[in-house]
Every structure is written in C-alpha cells, then in structure tokens.
C-alpha cells in the first residue's frame, strides 16, 4: 500500500520531535525525559515508534541495537515467525546505525546517540508486508530531533502544538477525545495548557469569559479579567491569586521571604478556524512567561 501524504504534522514529546503525515495520530506515550516511548499510528497499518534513554556518557549503540534486535527475534521465534534483519552504518545520519528487519511486520529504523545531549534514540517505522515502508520511514526519520537548539521543547500531539522551556517537566497529562491537558512544573513554577474541541457546541451554552474560569486552577481564586489578543484571536486575559486560606498564606509568606511571584496569569481564546478553545495558565512565573508560551501555540 502506498502512502501519499507528506510528513507535515509535528509531533513532540519530552524533547523528542518528528514530523508525520497529517492523518497520523499519537496513540501512546510513556516515561519521562530520561527514558520513554512514543507511538504514532497512521489510519492504516503503518506505525512510527520512538524510544529514548538518557545516557551520561557515550554508549555502544551497536550493542544496544543488537540487544534490541535479539529481543525482537526471540519474540518472533515464540510466535513461530521467521525473522530476518540487517544493520548498516547510516549514510544519511551521521553516527547513526540503520536497521531493517522482517518478522510479522516490515520495519525500518535507526539508532543514534546525540553527541550534545547524550540521548540514545531508537526510532522505527513499521508496516504490513504490502506497505511501502522504506519511503515513508526515510521521510519521517529524516525529521527526527532528540533535543532542541534553543532550550525550548516542542510538545505536540493531536493537533496541539506548544513550546516550553526544557526545564519544565510534564507532571500530569490528560488526553481525552475533545479535551487535552498538559501540566508542567519547574520548581515552584507551574504551567497548564488545555484545549477543548467542539467549541461551537460549548459556546452556545457558555460565554468564553465564563468558560475561561472553568479550569480548576481558577476556582477559589480572586480573578481579574480583561480583554486581549492571543494568536490573532480575541482572548480573555486572567490574573488572580488563590484565596484558599492555606495556599494564600503560604504564597504570601513565600512572596515576602523568597520574593516569589504569587499571581497566576492566564489566557483563554477561541480559535474559530480550528473550532477549539485554548487555555494557557502560568502560576508564579510572571506575566511575560505567559505571553512567551502563548506565542508558541499553533492553533490553526
């Protein structure tokens, strides 16, 4: 089966990013920046997978690849499937090893260790026996990046694209049909990015201003609202302070003793072309961080 769409949709997770055709979707992820896994499925039978592990020093990627292929071979033998595999130094990607194997699926991939960030990445594209894996695998693997050049990581899945400083670690994610939420933390600083689908249905019952105050972060908070702009759309800009007594007291103390900002800032906007509502909320980082993050959101 031929696959005609060019890889134009960016997928980013924990500092790893790659481009896939627009009709592919992230269907699985696990782990963190140190070690993790990402899976992206096509509407058909093609699958792109990336595994990464952070190393402190240079590792023998040939040995890692042998271990991986041995594991795959053992699994194939258990299923009584013939396994054939090949490894060669990559001509296209410096310092990488390319591999391809056939068991019950056709697989093409590469392994490499980034000399800058020391991350070891195994990326592969697999498909059924009648899928043209080689071409699409080359196109996808060619876009693979294991770190960013400017210190901002791209987080992109299911059409949500946002960039954050790499020190922000993902602490909570909710991926549901029609709702996405990513919560990040760096020390005491917090960032929450949310996206709702079916905005036309939602905004029949709610105004954007009322909807903006729905996220849990704005409940039990004294909030000031203002009109603004975000990504070319009219937005509700929020800033407020938590009023829950314990949180309020702790924030006040930290404000006085450690000079930490106590305010939360947020922007909520309706992207009409995409039929989605976006919300970015930053807590205790200052308003500039909010604007910097909002500017990186790709909403339509």
């Amino acid at each position: 089966m031929k696959h005609g769409l060019a890889p134009t949709q960016i997928v980013g997770w924990q500092g790893v990013s790659l481009q896939v055709p627009p009709d592919w979707s992230v269907t699985g992820f696990q782990g963190d920046a140190k070690e993790g896994y990402l899976r992206i499925d096509s509407p058909g039978s093609l699958v792109a997978e990336v595994r990464w592990a952070q190393a402190r020093k240079a590792v023998n990627i040939r040995k890692r690849l042998d271990d991986y292929l041995n594991l795959v071979e053992r699994q194939a033998k258990k299923r009584k499937v013939v396994f054939t595999g090949r490894i060669k130094p990559s001509e296209d990607w410096e310092g990488a090893l390319e591999f391809n194997y056939r068991a019950d699926r056709k697989v093409r991939g590469l392994i490499r260790q980034c000399p800058d960030c020391r991350r070891v990445v195994i990326a592969q594209v697999s498909g059924d026996k009648d899928d043209a894996v080689a071409n699409i695998a080359y196109q996808i693997l060619n876009t693979l990046q294991d770190h960013s050049s400017d210190g901002w990581w791209t987080w992109a899945l299911l059409g949500l694209v946002v960039r954050l400083p790499e020190r922000f670690a993902l602490v909570k994610s909710q991926v549901m049909s029609g709702y996405l939420s990513l919560q990040f933390r760096w020390g005491y600083r917090e960032v929450t990015v949310e996206r709702w689908g079916l905005a036309d249905v939602t905004l029949k019952r709610w105004t954007l201003e009322d909807w903006a105050l729905q996220p849990a972060g704005w409940k039990r908070a004294r909030v000031e609202r203002a009109q603004g702009q975000a990504r070319g759309h009219p937005a509700v800009m929020l800033s407020g302070v938590r009023t829950a007594p314990v949180v309020w007291l702790r924030r006040k103390l930290e404000r006085v003793l450690l000079r930490r900002p106590e305010l939360a800032h947020g922007a909520v906007w309706h992207c009409e072309p995409g039929n989605r509502i976006y919300s970015v909320r930053v807590e205790r980082t200052g308003e500039q961080m909010l604007h910097d993050i909002v500017d990186t959101v790709v909403c339509h």
């Binding site: 009709d23 979707s25 992230v26 269907t27 499925d41 509407p43 299911l158 059409g159 049909s177 029609g178 689908g197 079916l198 249905v201 029949k204 072309p273 995409g274 039929n275 989605r276």
Partner: protein
C-alpha cells in the same frame, strides 16, 4: 476473558461475543432500531423515544400503578444527533467518522474514539445494531 467467553469454550450453546478487528468495526454499518421514534429540537438536539419493554408482569404492573410513561426519552446533543442521523444502515462507521471529522474539525483519532464509544453505548442499549459485510457507502 468474561464468563460468557469462558463458558463458550466448553458449552457450544453459549456463544462468545464476536470480537471485531478495528478494520471490521470500521466497515460495519450501524442501523437504528425501527421501534424507536425521535423528535428533532430547535437547537439541533434530538429526543429519542424508546418504548419500555413490557414483557415482565412486574414492569407492566409498575407502569400501570405509578402511571409511568410507556416510553423513556433520551436526549442527544447536536453531535450525537448528527451521528444518529447517519445510522441508516447505509453509512459505514468509517464514513460516519469521516463525516464527523469534517463537521467537528477534530482530529480523526479523537473522532474515531468518540464515535466508537457512542455507537457502542447505543448498541448496548439496543438502540442500534450493526450490519457486517455487504454493500458499503464510503
């Protein structure tokens, strides 16, 4: 494995539930239960009028004694109503997914998950059945 599947292994009369692959599920054609009437509302929503099964004597007595309505109403929002409209036995699940992708401008994977869950819920309540194989409307 459920009890039904386990028993089905040993007792031929107990048939295990058929397990559909994703591809088979996408080519199935949902069909509305002909006993169900529905009424569109002004805002694009829909009210389904589902007759209450009166096979049991107790239920018949309860309906008469408490003057319960013989139909129960289920309200679908406009997205649910759009999917309900497409459950005509002609459209496949795949074509419903594609249509809803266009209408909602959500990603295919999100729509596929929601539509599948919604159709499963309708099927569990016996509001739709699935026709497998045969002609398809893409």
């Amino acid at each position: 494995m459920g009890l039904r599947d386990l028993l089905g292994k040993f007792i031929p009369a107990v048939k295990p539930k058929p397990v559909l692959s994703r591809q088979e599920a996408l080519t199935a054609r949902p069909l509305r239960n002909p006993l169900i009437e529905w009424e569109p509302m002004d805002d694009g929503e829909l009210v389904l009028k589902v007759p209450v099964e009166q096979r049991s004597l107790v239920i018949r007595w309860a309906i008469a004694a408490f003057r319960l309505p013989p139909v129960r109403q289920i309200q679908l929002d406009e997205v649910g109503a759009a999917v309900w409209d497409l459950c005509d036995g002609e459209h496949t699940v795949e074509s419903i997914v594609q249509e809803m992708c266009k209408r909602t401008r959500m990603s295919r994977r999100e729509v596929e998950a929601s539509v599948s869950m919604f159709l499963k819920m309708l099927a569990d309540r016996r509001l739709v059945a699935f026709i497998r194989g045969g002609k398809k409307k893409a």
